[in-house]
């Protein structure tokens, strides 16, 4: 490639940037592993996992389960509803299909803040101010994005394969489950991951929907804990933050290859 001079400067600049980027984490790690943490940035005198033990027990443990239920529920529901509609949308020339797809493109831009008040009202009226309500609301908000993305992935599956399978006597269900789904596995993983992390990180909807502390997911729990005045247990909160951040980070690195291939299509195709 280029001569080594500029590329070495670039490499040093990049390394410097990486250090700056990651430096805020020092505080998080130092406090989380310090059983005597005071919230200061300091080298701990003792190292231990006591904070993590606290952060998985009692209320904190329940919040982890709540977050898991909301995230996995939303991702799975979005993918199932998305697949069952994206396949017909991809294959059939339904009248009004293009209008529907353009509606989706527009709805995908819709900020959730814009429909917050009606969502809250509808949930209150139907007794859904709870986790199921959060799952349904997030699925509704997610669906335009999920549907468009899955349709794009299904469009890339060659129809000739399906024809061949039909000639061999496969039913619709077999064609979908044995050919279409396996061939768009990477795309489905991307969609599932996006919905999962989106719901896992979601703060505003659970803040409004969760009325009792037992129903708090980790986002609201963490916010409520660090907003409190008085004795803040920084050791507990930092350990809690690490546990809260772990699944989204972990799932990404597990699916990294899929993510980066699937990613190119996320923003660009309408």
């Amino acid at each position: 490639m280029d001569s080594t001079g500029p590329s070495r400067t670039a490499a040093i600049a990049l390394a410097f940037m990486a250090v700056i980027w990651i430096s805020p984490f020092s505080w998080l790690i130092l406090n989380a592993f310090n059983p005597l943490s005071t919230g200061q940035l300091e080298i701990p005198r003792a190292v231990g996992l006591d904070n993590f033990a606290l952060a998985v027990s009692g209320n904190a443990g329940r919040q982890f389960i709540n977050s898991m239920l909301i995230a996995a529920g939303t991702a799975t529901l979005s993918v199932i509803v998305g697949i069952s509609a994206a396949y017909p949308l991809s294959r059939l020339r339904i009248p009004g299909r293009n209008a529907f797809l353009w509606t989706l493109v527009l709805l995908r831009m819709l900020p959730s803040a814009g429909v917050l008040v009606p969502l809250y009202f509808a949930a209150q009226r139907s007794g859904l101010l709870n986790q199921l309500g959060v799952i349904i609301a997030l699925t509704v908000l997610n669906l335009p994005f999920t549907l468009l993305l899955l349709k794009n992935f299904f469009d890339t599956v060659p129809i000739e394969l399906e024809e061949a399978a039909y000639v061999e006597g496969a039913s619709l269900l077999q064609i979908v489950t044995k050919i279409v789904l396996p061939m768009s596995r990477a795309g489905i993983a991307v969609v599932w991951f996006y919905s999962f992390t989106g719901a896992w990180n979601e703060f505003l909807l659970p803040l409004i929907f969760a009325r009792v502390q037992d129903a708090f997911p980790m986002s609201v729990g963490l916010y409520a804990a660090f907003g409190q005045q008085g004795a803040i247990n920084y050791g507990f909160l930092t350990a809690f933050s690490i546990i809260y951040a772990a699944p989204a980070v972990g799932v990404y690195f597990l699916l990294r290859r899929n993510m980066n291939t699937g990613f190119a299509g996320v923003g660009v195709k309408g």
Partner: protein
């Protein structure tokens, strides 16, 4: 013409239609909620109390309040500044520079930098807020490592420079998305074109500015619009770091909407704010659709 010859589809139209149904219902619900937000904005509906049941139509009163009372216009301006500096200047430019620089470097450096940037993006909003509150606090990293060793008294950044701090926090959090998109876009630029420019004697800067940038123009448009819209309506980071304070300095529209609707309980007025946000986002989306339709 495609499906006439596909008997496994035509003989199962009922099943396929059934598959479309749940999605159609949910999308219908979303449209219905949007219409509802418009309807609410003409009422004096409240979260609690008498007006939560016996609300009445108040015409354009809520929209008048948007422009005559303090709050909305200030929030709009704060939002514009926040979006411009954190999304357009920060995330886009930085994301592009990183994508361009990292293409020329070894794969180890590339992976390390990528992982560092991705960590910010993958971190849940509330954790990022917590982290940045701690980093910029009086005993935090910036004070202990830079300000105090230089002989200055520690600065309480979040009180004194609230808007710049949340802007930086958002750049830190969101650059990865622009980076990934630009990275994929630059991969799509064919090697031959860049090589040809090199042979013709173009400097690295010219290669980027005159060859690669024009080719990935649609990607730039896409990226700009998505991050503009996201940042325009972004709520958790700012809300958790400052709650809109101190003194409304960081009260972007999403925080203003939340405070009005759910802290003060003015759902009618809150809906008018939503409608204003929807209209602004709608206009931005139209610009986006036009850009995509333009011939490349």
């Amino acid at each position: 013409m495609k499906n006439q010859a596909n008997p496994w589809l035509t003989s199962n139209l009922f099943v396929l239609g059934l598959g479309l149904l749940p999605a159609a219902i949910l999308i219908g619900a979303l449209l219905y909620f949007t219409a509802w937000a418009f309807a609410f904005s003409f009422t004096d509906l409240a979260l609690v109390g008498r007006k939560s049941v016996e609300w009445s139509w108040v015409g354009l009163q809520n929209f008048e309040r948007l422009f005559t009372r303090r709050g909305f216009l200030e929030s709009l301006w704060t939002t514009v500044i926040f979006v411009f500096f954190s999304a357009i200047v920060g995330q886009s430019v930085l994301g592009f520079l990183l994508a361009a620089l990292l293409r020329g470097t070894q794969s180890t450096i590339r992976s390390v930098v990528e992982v560092c940037i991705m960590l910010g993006w993958l971190l849940p909003d509330i954790v990022a807020a917590f982290l940045w509150s701690a980093t910029t606090s009086q005993t935090g990293l910036i004070n202990q490592l830079i300000i105090v060793p230089l002989g200055f008294p520690p600065i309480n950044f979040i009180n004194e420079y609230a808007l710049p701090i949340v802007t930086i926090a958002n750049i830190w959090k969101g650059t990865a998305w622009s980076y990934l998109l630009f990275s994929a876009a630059l991969d799509s630029v064919s090697r031959e074109v860049v090589e040809a420019a090199k042979v013709d004697g173009a400097t690295p800067f010219q290669r980027i500015w005159l060859v690669q940038l024009p080719i990935i123009r649609p990607h730039i448009a896409t990226n700009m619009l998505f991050i503009t819209i996201w940042t325009f309506t972004y709520f958790p980071l700012i809300f958790a770091m400052t709650g809109g304070g101190p003194g409304g300095q960081t009260q972007v529209l999403a925080v203003f909407l939340y405070n009005q609707s759910f802290s003060r309980g003015n759902l009618g007025f809150g809906s008018a704010i939503s409608v204003a946000m929807l209209i602004i986002v709608g206009l931005l989306s139209l610009v986006y659709l036009r850009m995509l339709r333009e011939p490349k």
